[in-house]
């Protein structure tokens, strides 16, 4: 494509147009189409190249057809995946887990919160690292809250410890719950 005698002026122009028309197409498809059509125009003089170009048609049409067909390939590949991967994912479970985790701490002390942790561990639509990070964050917040309560106990500012004990798990678990809801279904089931 670099030497002028291998490609006539119309051929060079056509291949350049084709290349830019295919700018948005997948790289391997772009390479295949341009290489193949460059081969067709290789060594033809201006008249012969113009005739071949007329038969090939508008480079934008070729690019549009190639992209449309490639999308169909992609759709077929996606269609081969298990149905549950493509289905819209219900957020009911992560919402329930977030509520149990957050409200459980207060409504059924310790036990409700532990149920929330178990729900996180059992959620198959979270990536393992999402589950670990959520449990670690929630447990860390609980430890900080308990520590605050113990450290300030019996001092003048015991009320600070009590407030931290009440508020830190709430804030942490609200954040963890939001994170869990966003992450739900993003990873393939384990």
């Amino acid at each position: 494509m670099s030497t002028n005698d291998a490609y006539s002026a119309p051929a060079q122009r056509y291949l350049a147009e084709l290349e830019s028309a295919l700018a948005a197409a997948p790289a391997d498809l772009r390479a295949e189409v341009t290489a193949d059509l460059a081969g067709e125009l290789h060594g033809l003089d201006a008249d012969a190249a113009a005739a071949r170009i007329a038969e090939l048609g508008d480079p934008r049409t070729i690019a549009a057809d190639a992209s449309a067909e490639a999308r169909q390939t992609a759709a077929q590949t996606a269609g081969a995946q298990p149905a549950d991967v493509r289905m819209p994912v219900s957020k009911a479970y992560p919402t329930a887990a977030a509520i149990v985790l957050t409200a459980g701490w207060y409504l059924v002390p310790i036990v409700g919160w532990i149920v929330g942790l178990v729900m996180i561990g059992a959620g198959s639509r979270w990536a393992p690292q999402v589950r670990v990070a959520s449990v670690v964050a929630s447990v860390a917040a609980a430890l900080v809250a308990v520590a605050a309560l113990l450290v300030f106990r019996g001092t003048d500012v015991w009320i600070l410890g009590a407030a931290a004990f009440a508020v830190i798990p709430l804030i942490a678990n609200i954040f963890v719950g939001g994170y869990l809801r966003r992450q739900w279904g993003l990873a393939a089931p384990a």
Binding site: E32, V33, D65, A66, Q76
Partner: protein
């Protein structure tokens, strides 16, 4: 309205082609290995694809499925071309399609054939329809 019908007709054509163009490519390759441009020339002239652009992803799909293989032919040094040929799997796939296609197209043709007995002028009551005759 006419425009809508036209779009629908186009869409039917597109839907029909989608299912069979791949087998037409297999059919074109059954006698001899062929290169892309030659395949596209045939398919475009028969109205089976719009342009050569459609052909490349389609060939890629057939290759990924192991139905065809691509080989570089360097005998013409001025124009080294990629020739596609059928694999044994491709041959088998084509055989299966051929066996299905004939009865399928015959069945569809029978069903959608213009019904002479219902055309205007002939007596519609020749075939009584339940509930309409009082």
């Amino acid at each position: 309205m006419q425009h809508m019908l036209l779009c629908m007709a186009n869409d039917v054509g597109t839907q029909l082609r989608k299912g069979v163009v791949e087998y037409c490519v297999l059919g074109l390759l059954q006698s001899a290995p062929t290169y892309g441009w030659k395949l596209s020339e045939r398919l475009v002239s028969l109205g089976l694809i719009g342009s050569i652009g459609t052909l490349y992803p389609l060939l890629g799909r057939l290759r990924d499925q192991g139905l065809i293989i691509a080989q570089a032919d360097t005998s013409d040094s001025a124009r080294p071309r990629k020739y596609y040929s059928l694999t044994p799997d491709g041959r088998e796939q084509l055989r299966q399609f051929r066996a299905q296609w004939q009865p399928f197209s015959a069945a569809v043709s029978t069903i959608i054939a213009v019904d002479e007995s219902r055309s205007p002028g002939t007596d519609a009551s020749a075939i009584p329809v339940k509930g309409t005759d009082s």
